[in-house]
């Protein structure tokens, strides 16, 4: 029979803790059963890996969708009065579709979208990471789209005119002149969206995806004590967020330096 946590604790704990004061002994035991016994720390490591992978894939999907949706919306808003024929119909259709997408995604809770995707749309798939990444990506795309659209609209009209007067078409002007500036202008907001996304993936446990939150929850249940397991989950998120905030700050500074 497997030894229980309290049995192993007595065997494994170093003397200086066992012989120490009672409170140190208690904390030592709590930490032991939360992270060391049964190699439970490995659940956190796996959870960390899953959270990062999920966030990263969702980010890629989100930015991809966001750029496309924002471009459709901006092109329609700027050009539809001067367009005609099938081009106008196609762009109008895409624009209407984008608006529906934005309304539905931003108007319903992330958890519900995730469960619909996992239990209904992809009911036959057991690949939790891919279904999760798709759900979070589609969700994030809606917010990224509006962020980038705001960025594009914040760029002075003179930039477009300068590009067009040199002979660039609408698309090339966007690509070489407007989008690079819009990205730079929205970088802090986009980074914030990324951090929100990272934390939002904590609901992935609803479909049984073993992320950081899931690990804390399961371990807490196993040791009938949630304090240290959940604190650990929170601490991992905090460190991740602080680390990415630091990276973004550096990137921002470098971008700013290139213009001064």
């Amino acid at each position: 029979m497997r030894p229980s946590a309290s049995q192993s604790w007595l065997l494994d704990a170093p003397d200086w803790i066992q012989n120490g004061p009672q409170w140190l002994n208690d904390i030592g035991y709590d930490i032991y059963k939360s992270f060391i016994f049964d190699d439970r720390y490995q659940m956190y490591l796996k959870g960390l890996g899953n959270t990062l992978l999920l966030t990263f894939l969702a980010l890629l999907i989100g930015v991809f969708l966001g750029v496309i949706i924002s471009l459709i919306r901006v092109s329609w808003d700027k050009n539809h009065t001067e367009m005609h024929g099938p081009g106008k119909i196609a762009l109008g259709f895409l624009n209407a579709l984008s608006k529906v997408y934005l309304t539905v995604i931003r108007g319903t809770p992330m958890v519900v979208q995730l469960m619909i995707m996992y239990f209904v749309v992809f009911a036959t798939s057991r690949n939790k990471i891919m279904v999760g990444a798709l759900s979070f990506g589609i969700n994030s795309g809606a917010y990224v789209a509006e962020i980038i659209r705001g960025g594009i609209m914040s760029i002075d009209q003179g930039q477009t005119e300068a590009g067009r007067s040199l002979g660039f078409g609408y698309v090339s002007t966007m690509r070489y002149i407007i989008l690079p500036q819009a990205f730079k202008a929205t970088l802090p907001t986009l980074a914030n969206e990324f951090i929100v996304l990272l934390k939002e993936t904590a609901v992935a446990g609803y479909v049984g995806l073993a992320d950081i939150t899931y690990a804390g929850n399961i371990i807490g249940g196993n040791c009938y004590d949630y304090l240290f397991p959940l604190l650990m989950s929170a601490l991992i998120y905090l460190i991740l967020v602080m680390f990415f905030t630091f990276l973004v700050g550096r990137l921002e500074r470098r971008l700013r330096n290139s213009e001064r």
Partner: protein
């Protein structure tokens, strides 16, 4: 229709709100090759709108523009191709802030004229040399003064080897002490035979450099002629009133 006209605009109209507002109300003007035409007039006279219509940054609601004999107001015309030959300089410079000066100048020649990077850079450096800014090639626009920015904007347009240069109040956003350096570049350009259409409030430049001065008011051309005719012996009362205020 003589072949040495590079731009022929006929009956240009720009109406808003179904004709209630008439920024341009039937403007007919032709620009000869190598000619320097200066457009003057009070604010709101439509002179900037007229200039911006010439390369269709502003789409006229009526009339026709022939550029090198081709109707560019025709829906089937590839305006991007024609714009490559019409350089434009703006009141607010509109340099690309995320690129160095050199990149600002080489972007369009490389992407649109398919020039190689060394070739485009060689041309850009030669032009920078001409306006005395070769040492700023690696700088970003925000590191330059207004006058420097406008000189860069001019040579950026020149990098496309345009047939005609359009200037939309190029000195209006500049501090007074920087106006001279920009006008100097424009004068040199005129002397080299560049076809230029200049909307400006710089009457000194008009008097000295213009082959022809067009005076506009309320969306129409009121009077046109040589600088002597317009400045010394204006025929219309409207022109006299305007010149009395600005001279």
């Amino acid at each position: 229709m003589s072949a040495d006209y590079i731009i022929q605009a006929t009956g240009l109209q720009k109406h808003f709100d179904g004709g209630d507002i008439r920024a341009l109300d039937g403007v007919t003007a032709s620009i000869r090759k190598g000619e320097v035409v200066v457009v003057i007039g009070p604010s709101g006279s439509g002179k900037s709108t007229f200039l911006r219509c010439l390369n269709l940054l502003e789409v006229p609601t009526g009339g026709q523009i022939l550029f090198e004999g081709i109707d560019i107001t025709d829906k089937k015309a590839d305006i991007n191709l024609h714009r490559q030959k019409m350089g434009m300089v703006f009141q607010h410079f509109n340099l690309f802030p995320h690129m160095t000066i050199l990149k600002n100048m080489t972007l369009a020649p490389m992407k649109l004229l398919k020039k190689s990077q060394p070739e485009a850079e060689k041309q850009a450096m030669a032009l920078l040399e001409r306006v005395g800014l070769a040492d700023r090639a690696g700088a970003y626009p925000s590191q330059l003064s207004g006058g420097q920015k406008q000189r860069i904007a001019i040579v950026r347009a020149l990098c496309m080897d345009p047939e005609v240069m359009l200037f939309d109040e190029p000195t209006s956003a500049l501090d007074p002490e920087m106006v001279g350096e920009v006008l100097e570049v424009m004068k040199n350009l005129a002397k080299q035979g560049m076809t230029m259409v200049v909307v400006t409030h710089e009457m000194g430049f008009a008097r000295e450099m213009a082959d022809r001065v067009i005076f506009m008011a309320e969306g129409r051309i009121v009077e046109e002629g040589t600088p002597e005719e317009i400045f010394s012996a204006p025929g219309q009362q409207r022109t006299k009133d305007f010149l009395a205020k600005v001279l």
